[in-house]
């Protein structure tokens, strides 16, 4: 099983999302996502190794456009 990455798309929103999660004490990092079945092409995502489900809920609630999940990897 790969490590889940929350797909955002925009690098700007991904970085904003990372800042929001930090306020909730959730450590995360922004990662490049290459072609994936979850996205409409390449983009960016947030890798939150812990509390991933909670992180996704927070992001959605805060208006970050989450488009799904994928798994971490060089060509995930």
């Amino acid at each position: 099983m790969g490590k889940p990455v929350i797909v955002i798309g925009s690098v700007t929103y991904a970085m904003k999302g990372r800042s929001i999660l930090a306020r909730y004490g959730i450590r995360s990092s922004v990662e490049r996502i290459y072609r994936s079945t979850n996205v409409r092409g390449c983009g960016y995502g947030i890798y939150a190794p812990q509390r991933t489900d909670e992180a996704e809920r927070i992001l959605r609630r805060e208006g970050i456009p989450v488009s799904g999940r994928t798994t971490r990897g060089p060509r995930s």
Binding site: G9, S10, V11, T12, Y13, M15, K16, V30, E31, R32, Y34, R35, V39, R40, G41, C42, G43, Y44, P65
Partner: protein, 386 residues
């Protein structure tokens, strides 16, 4: 050189801006928002820092509302051409720069109509009333300058925005002369689209500008292309800021702009503004007592004016005065300043004017140097002036 052409581009740039640009070449040499390697990500982080700084400075909803453009003109074009369609009407002011006038005229060839609302310097009630009178049933946008780039006349954009919103019309502001100089609070002022230059009062490099808006997704695009996102799709992404940012960004310029915004914040925009107004009030007093000087505006009252002052020497073309001043080592801008509407308003369309604009780095010695040079020019051209 005494540099008083800061309304065009501020010079010198702060050391921090120069350092940031140089650093960007060294540390952020990869495309931001594209690859996932460390230098590309570092570049993306720097771009994000600038977006955050700008959003914070102008009280925008968030960093995603900041789209980088080449300059303020591009931002204005994005708004006008992204919003208006044949049959629509737009209200502008009678003091607009060609950055507004020309795209509006281009749109007019395709069925967009416009009205120029008259501005009443020193009488904001009358100005707001003029905008009210200009609104029509099919008005889809009010767009005006925050401060005239020729006369420094301030427009009450917060009140004009409140008026526009009463009619459900969005408000756009051309802040080329005001960003970094006059207070701008997008939320409180009700500004839907803020068009800003990076290379003037924000002390960034040339080739930087911003369109700041939370409504960018609703704009039709003027330019489409690669954004580093949704690459499978042939359509331009709808989300901001990618919707308005196709192609590789001006990484060193944006890094410099970030440093410029931080410079203004640190020094205090109000302090900079009052410093510049003080210099111009001294200049105005000196010019008022100088025979043969034609002034068009009163001593700049900070409530009604931005720190820009234009004048003429009677009988001498403004370009001649500008050229002579350059010989004395004084840099000003003469002519029409790409704003024939503003000159028509003041009756100087045929002769233009000599424009002076200080910066945070200007000193009283600079103003005294300008006055001394003007006295010499006046002496030299005594016969032509009388």
């Amino acid at each position: 050189m005494i540099y008083l052409d800061n309304a065009a581009t501020t010079y010198p740039k702060p050391q921090s801006v120069q350092r940031a640009v140089t650093e960007a070449f060294r540390r952020y040499g990869a495309n931001p928002g594209r690859a996932g390697h460390s230098m590309a990500m570092a570049a993306s982080e720097e771009i994000y820092r600038c977006r955050s700084a700008a959003a914070d400075f102008f009280h925008a909803q968030g960093p995603e509302c900041v789209a980088f453009t080449l300059n303020c003109t591009h931002a204005v074009n994005y708004v006008l051409k992204g919003l208006l369609r044949p049959g629509d009407h737009v209200v502008i002011s009678c003091l607009e720069h060609n950055a507004v006038v020309r795209p509006v005229h281009a749109l007019a060839e395709n069925g967009v109509t416009f009205t120029e609302a008259r501005v009443f310097p020193g009488d904001n009630d009358a100005t707001v009333n003029a905008f009210r009178d200009a609104i029509q049933e099919n008005t889809k946008l009010v767009l005006c300058t925050h401060a005239s780039n020729v006369w420094g006349i301030r427009l009450p954009v917060g009140r004009i925005a409140a008026l526009a919103h009463q009619y459900g019309i969005p408000m756009a502001v051309d802040s080329a002369q005001s960003a970094g100089v006059l207070p701008i609070h997008m939320e409180e002022d009700g500004i839907d689209y803020l068009c800003a230059a990076g290379h003037k009062g924000l002390y960034g490099p040339m080739g930087t500008g911003m369109l700041i808006t939370s409504h960018g997704s609703g704009l039709a695009t003027v330019i489409e292309g690669g954004t580093g996102t949704e690459s499978m799709m042939p359509e331009q992404p709808s989300g901001m800021p990618e919707r308005l940012e196709s192609g590789t960004q001006n990484m060193p310029g944006i890094a410099g702009l970030r440093a410029g915004i931080e410079f203004v914040k640190k020094r205090g925009p109000e302090k900079i503004f009052l410093h510049e107004i003080r210099l111009l009030r001294s200049l105005h007093a000196a010019l008022s007592s100088m025979e043969g000087v034609v002034l068009y505006t009163p001593a700049p009252d900070p409530k009604y004016f931005a720190p820009v002052l234009s004048f003429n020497l009677a009988g001498l073309p403004s370009e001649t005065v500008g050229r002579e001043l350059s010989r004395y080592g004084v840099a000003v801008r003469a002519g029409l300043h790409c704003a024939p509407a503003a000159h028509r308003f003041m009756g100087t369309l045929e002769i233009g004017a000599v424009r002076v604009c200080p910066s945070a780095f200007s000193t009283m010695a600079d103003i005294n140097g300008l006055i001394a040079a003007l006295k010499k020019i006046r002496m030299k051209n005594y016969e032509r002036m009388h």
